[in-house]
Amino acid sequence: MYCTNMALSDSADKTTLMSIQPYTEDQSDALQEVVNIAMGQAGDSLARILGNFVALSVPRIRLVTVKDVIKTVTDMVDNNAEISAIRQSFSNSLRGEAIVVFAQAGADDLADLMGYDTDLDQSAKQELLLEVGNLLVGAVINGISETLKTDLSFSAPSLMAERTPLDQVLVPEQLSWSHALLMEVNFTVENRDFKCHLLMFMTEETIDSLRGILDEFMDGI
């Protein structure tokens, strides 16, 4: 007799799975697992660069509409205080944008956490945010493309917000999509005031193309 234990089939995630309407349960399971793996690699990269153990949350996957994107994001981040954020786009077989949201206290603490002089100037601090954000996004993109055996490339990161309330970072009126697939995970450094969220938004056409990619992936297991 064997007892297996699956993170993706807990009751909280049942609702997640049901809300990813366009996918079958198998496809949702596979997607959740691919995202788990990719996010785990991102966490490992972050842990190495910070020299600290990083606690990972269970990745959440949602289908969001442009109308409720702000509410979904602020609920996920559970914090409407000031944040700093960077963004990066990815393209090729999957298209979308990744955003890394840093809780402000952690962003301020980053230099110290990474062993730099703490009196860095503004540009040097921005550079650190970009560096860490790029590291997370790069690791997730690599993880997804390696697991799904599909090619992905990504752009240089850019600063999206500094010391801005989270609900002002995304402006729905300026967004040109109606639905997106959103994947979220957060990373916390124990004993330190550091927390960041990685949000990956995939576009509508990607939601469709992902279906075929997931099927191929499951056939390959």
Partner: protein
């Protein structure tokens, strides 16, 4: 790790050795412990990142209750510190996701489970 994929991974080594297995799936850490207490698990494949009760808590509880089982942690959290921690908490092995059949086979062989 879906039940189907785990079954597939386990099926090959088990059939080779003429062992039949039964899988019980737990929804979270608490259910896993309950299943274990019911005597439903000789080997537990345990994920780390779970809601309600995570993998570390399950391991701690097993230690506290002095329950002896083979716990194989299967996790996407591949930080060396995570591996250290679970070993300290009594896990016999740490298998990184994505899982390869050979990884599972090796562990089962090493501990003479199959």
């Amino acid at each position: 790790m879906t039940p189907e994929s785990l079954e597939k991974w386990l099926f090959v080594p088990c059939r080779h050795n003429g062992i039949s297995i039964e899988l019980t799936q737990a929804e979270n850490g608490e259910e896993a412990l309950a299943a274990y207490r019911d005597g439903k698990a000789e080997v537990m494949f345990l994920d780390l990142t779970m809601p309600v009760m995570d993998g570390y808590q399950v391991l701690e509880q097993l230690q506290k209750e002095q329950l002896n089982t083979f716990v194989v942690v299967v996790s996407a959290d591949i930080q060396p510190k995570a591996q250290e921690r679970v070993k300290k908490l009594g896990a016999i092995a740490f298998i990184k996701k994505p899982v390869k059949t050979s990884d599972i086979e090796n562990v089962l062989h090493e501990y003479g489970i199959v």
